[in-house]
């Protein structure tokens, strides 16, 4: 076979083509929104008992049907909800005149197949509208993964503090080595407390171990209690709806927040989808989640996200799953926690609509650490992307739950966290860490920066925590004893607040003052434009003030650092020249005053030196004149030409843009324009001088070509250009006379 043409070979090399794309195939369950084998919605109630559910008669109910039929459907509203046509129901979701409460009331009476059909009607932007209205909590939030390859406690503590400082209100850790779990829980508990009050901590391990950590007060929530959409896969997962319902109660009985976990693709991966669509199977999971009494659901693909993403409408399906959870009046922890594509554009496309609409948790695990340290596998967004995410929040003016952290503050928090963690481990006799280890953990951007560590010591520490039955009381004592009374107090206050139980309600998080924000205390009140959550002014400032933003004052300071007034100084009024070899280099008003460095990074004095050298090479003599009356490059160049004996002038703005002008041309015309200031090299400035001289001598030089760049030059420099032009504008004086400047070495 012939090799494909170059254009296809080129396209094949793009990263998106590392992704797998599947032919839609209902037989394998590889179908997102609708399978021909999905049942039609149906519900028959006989003597107050459901005797048919989505086409299945009671005698044939599997265990999932049975649990939903007995516990999951509100019979008082079922007839009304099931009678609503799919499109009419779908329109209620996006109609701002229909309040959230009405959707919640009706959805409680709808079967899984009914909600599947309704959500399959919604287009992507309509899913966004539905999400904005239907999520439980008014204030959006976010969850972080904090893990590393070594289970290094000091790095975990520093990274937990970092995640808390960035604004994450839940931190989920897990282990590459199961035995390390108690150590990870303690390290994250201490670190998160340094970063912020009230951050919930989870250590995702096997259920009994996870429950035990919660019982000891070392963790405060759980979310990896998996549900599946078919009985076979559920049983293969070694659970039933009844065991999960019991486990749900077990967590609540120990005062722990919990949510269940489901999502598209899980059944497909286990070859147990029974030819049903992903959305229908998930509808069964979500109905079951409500029926077992969980307050929330982590879904939106999760581990199967890339399975959904491999089929048509896959991303739409993932978002529909989240909306379905909201319709069931539950907390949505909206996935985005598994890297679903090698393409930056596809993974952004997957996540952005949810962040824009706003969810209880936009991510059920934003990888706050680097990809390689994420022991859940890389998340869809990771430490590599935090600045991108912060910029996206700011771009759209929305609250994705994160905030910027100044470099000095981050260093302080990481140091405090690592030192406090070391102190606790030392005091409790768990492990001893060196000063060097602390220093490495504070500075590390990931575990590879730690070098060789003693991982057996971590395992021994974890073993000791478990064997000695250490609890949060021991951690508090250690913190207080080791000179961290504020951290001890903070940990105790958090414990007291949790015992109040308010955080067991739907969508509950603690804010930094330990107020619970939930469906109960902070209900979503979106009802169309002009309503619903707006970031309060303080929060808006956090969103806007990313650490990279710069104002005119910042630029003035950075220019001042390069000031060299001794090397470019005024030398009296400039007079018209008469020598035919005289070429005036006109510079803008702030040059030699406030502006000393061009966008290219070259010093203005070096640029002038190159231009002068170019003129001299071709036998002309240049002189530098500052024109204070205008910032316009054409006007400056023309004024220079009119002053110059040759009639040829050069215009140079402080930012580095330059042109060659002639006295008889219109102001906006020119002979040559060097427009892309950031890319102009010393050689080009020299050529500019030489070409100006050739024009002065009546020649026709080959014009310079502006260097081409495929980089986002404008994105990089426009803000600086605006600030530079403002420095120039502030120096404009309409009455200013042309002034000679002298360059000295």
């Amino acid at each position: 076979m012939n090799e494909p043409v170059g254009r296809i070979r080129f396209m094949d090399r793009q990263r998106v083509n590392l992704d797998g794309f599947a032919v839609e195939n209902a037989e394998l369950g590889l179908v997102a929104l609708r399978s021909p084998y999905d049942p039609g919605p149906s519900l028959t109630v006989t003597d107050g008992r459901i005797t048919e559910l989505d086409g299945v008669a009671e005698a044939d109910f599997d265990s999932i049907d049975t649990f939903i039929a007995r516990h999951g459907i509100d019979l008082a509203v079922a007839a009304e909800a099931m009678a609503l046509p799919d499109v009419a129901f779908a329109r209620l979701l996006t109609d701002p005149a229909v309040p959230r409460a009405e959707i919640i009331r009706l959805s409680a009476g709808a079967t899984p197949a009914k909600l599947t059909r309704v959500l399959a009607v919604l287009k992507p932007h309509e899913l966004g509208m539905a999400m904005a209205k239907l999520r439980s909590r008014r204030t959006p939030s976010n969850q972080a993964h904090v893990t590393n390859r070594l289970d290094d406690p000091l790095l975990l503590a520093a990274d937990a503090a970092t995640a808390a400082a960035f604004g994450f209100r839940e931190i989920e850790t897990t282990v590459p080595v199961l035995g390390d779990a108690p150590s990870n829980a303690v390290a994250c508990l201490v670190g998160a407390a340094v970063g912020s009050q009230g951050v919930l901590i989870q250590c995702s391990v096997e259920e009994a171990a996870e429950l035990e950590l919660g019982m000891r007060g070392l963790t405060s929530y759980a979310e990896t209690i998996s549900l599946y959409g078919t009985e076979q896969v559920f049983t293969d997962g070694d659970d039933t709806p009844w065991s999960k319902a019991f486990l749900t109660s077990a967590y609540a009985s120990r005062g722990m927040k919990m949510r269940v976990s489901s999502g598209a693709g899980a059944e497909v991966l286990m070859a147990g989808a029974e030819r049903k669509s992903m959305l229908y199977l998930e509808a069964r999971c979500v109905a079951l989640a409500r029926a077992v009494g969980a307050q929330g659901v982590q879904n939106g693909g999760i581990d199967g996200a890339s399975v959904a993403a491999a089929v048509p409408n896959g991303l739409r399906e993932l978002m529909a799953e989240n909306v379905m959870v909201m319709m069931r009046n539950l907390e949505s922890c909206s996935g985005n926690d598994a890297l679903m594509s090698e393409s930056d554009m596809r993974r952004t496309s997957r996540t952005l609509p949810i962040v824009l609409a706003g969810s209880d948790f936009a991510f059920s695990g934003f990888g706050s650490i680097q990809r390689y340290d994420n022991m859940f596998g890389p998340s869809n967004f990771n430490a590599e992307d935090i600045d991108d995410f912060l910029a996206m929040q700011r771009d759209w003016g929305i609250d994705g739950g994160l905030r910027t952290v100044a470099a000095e503050r981050l260093a302080d928090l990481r140091r405090d966290a690592a030192q406090a963690c070391r102190a606790v481990y030392g005091y409790l006799g768990l492990a001893d860490f060196t000063d060097e280890h602390v220093a490495l953990a504070v500075d590390a951007s990931g575990s590879k920066d730690l070098g060789q560590t003693d991982t057996l010591a971590v395992l021994a520490a974890a073993h000791a925590i478990r064997q000695r039955g250490l609890t949060v009381v021991d951690i508090v004592t250690a913190l207080d004893e080791c000179g961290y009374p504020e951290l001890a107090e903070r940990t105790v206050e958090f414990l007291q607040a949790r015992l109040g139980g308010d955080y067991l309600q739907t969508s509950a998080i603690f804010d930094e003052r330990l107020a619970v924000l939930s469906l109960v205390t902070d209900p979503n009140d979106y009802a169309g434009p002009g309503t619903g959550y707006e970031p309060p002014p303080d929060r808006q400032r956090e969103i806007d003030a990313i650490r990279q933003q710069r104002g005119v004052g910042d630029l003035r300071e950075s220019q001042a650092r390069h000031a060299a007034p001794g090397r470019l100084g005024p030398a009296g009024p400039a007079m018209p020249g008469s020598d035919p070899r005289d070429v005036v280099i006109g510079v803008s008003p702030a040059v030699g005053r406030d502006v000393w460095r061009c966008l290219s990074g070259l010093a203005v004095t070096d640029v002038l030196r190159e231009i002068l050298a170019g003129l001299e090479e071709e036998g002309c003599a240049g002189r530098i004149v500052r024109f204070g009356g205008t910032v316009d490059l054409g006007q400056i160049g023309l004024a220079a030409a009119r002053l110059s004996g040759s009639g040829i002038g050069i215009g140079l703005q402080g930012k580095g843009t330059a042109l060659i002008h002639r006295r008889d041309l219109a102001p906006l015309a020119n002979l040559e324009l060097y427009s892309v200031a950031p890319t102009i090299t010393p050689e080009l400035y020299r050529l500019l001088g030489a070409n100006a001289a050739r024009h002065a001598k009546g020649g026709t030089p080959d014009p310079a070509r502006n260097p081409y760049s495929d980089e986002a030059i404008e994105a990089r420099y426009h803000t600086t250009v605006i600030a530079l032009m403002e420095l120039e504008r502030r120096r404009v004086d309409a009455a200013a006379r042309p002034e000679t400047l002298v360059l000295s070495s």
């Binding site: 009331r105 009046n329 309600q505």
Partner: protein, 121 residues
């Protein structure tokens, strides 16, 4: 509402750093009280989630059981672990010990597991 208490009966305001350092705080002082869960169940009901309320009430019952027993019941409910008779027995004992909601859950499991082949052979 009067001040929140831990399972032990201790007021949460008594859970201080000093009390912890003095060794006065045990695991029962870190655990949630059944009355707190009942209160939260009422709140959940008021916010249109009777299933969450039922879960919190089952949880209130479970506060009286030790951790090992809670985990043992969970294990008994996993597929293929128990005969129907064993589950029925377990339900009866939970009823006797004042955990009627948990008992009902287990009794229902016994019935459904038998029909769906989820009981121990």
């Amino acid at each position: 509402m009067s001040e929140v208490r831990a399972l032990s009966g201790k007021k949460v305001s008594e859970l201080t750093v000093d009390a912890m350092r003095a060794g006065d705080i045990g695991v029962a002082d870190l655990r949630i009280h059944p009355e707190t869960l009942e209160h939260q169940a009422v709140v959940a009901e008021r916010h249109r989630n009777p299933q969450l309320a039922e879960n919190l009430r089952r949880a209130a019952e479970l506060t009286s059981l030790p951790d090992e027993e809670v985990l043992a019941i969970y294990d008994a409910l996993r597929p293929g672990r128990s005969t129907a008779a064993r589950l029925t027995e377990l339900a009866a004992s939970l009823t006797d010990r004042g955990l009627p909601r948990c008992a009902a859950l287990v009794a229902e499991a016994a019935e459904v597991y038998a029909r769906r082949g989820l009981v121990k052979a």
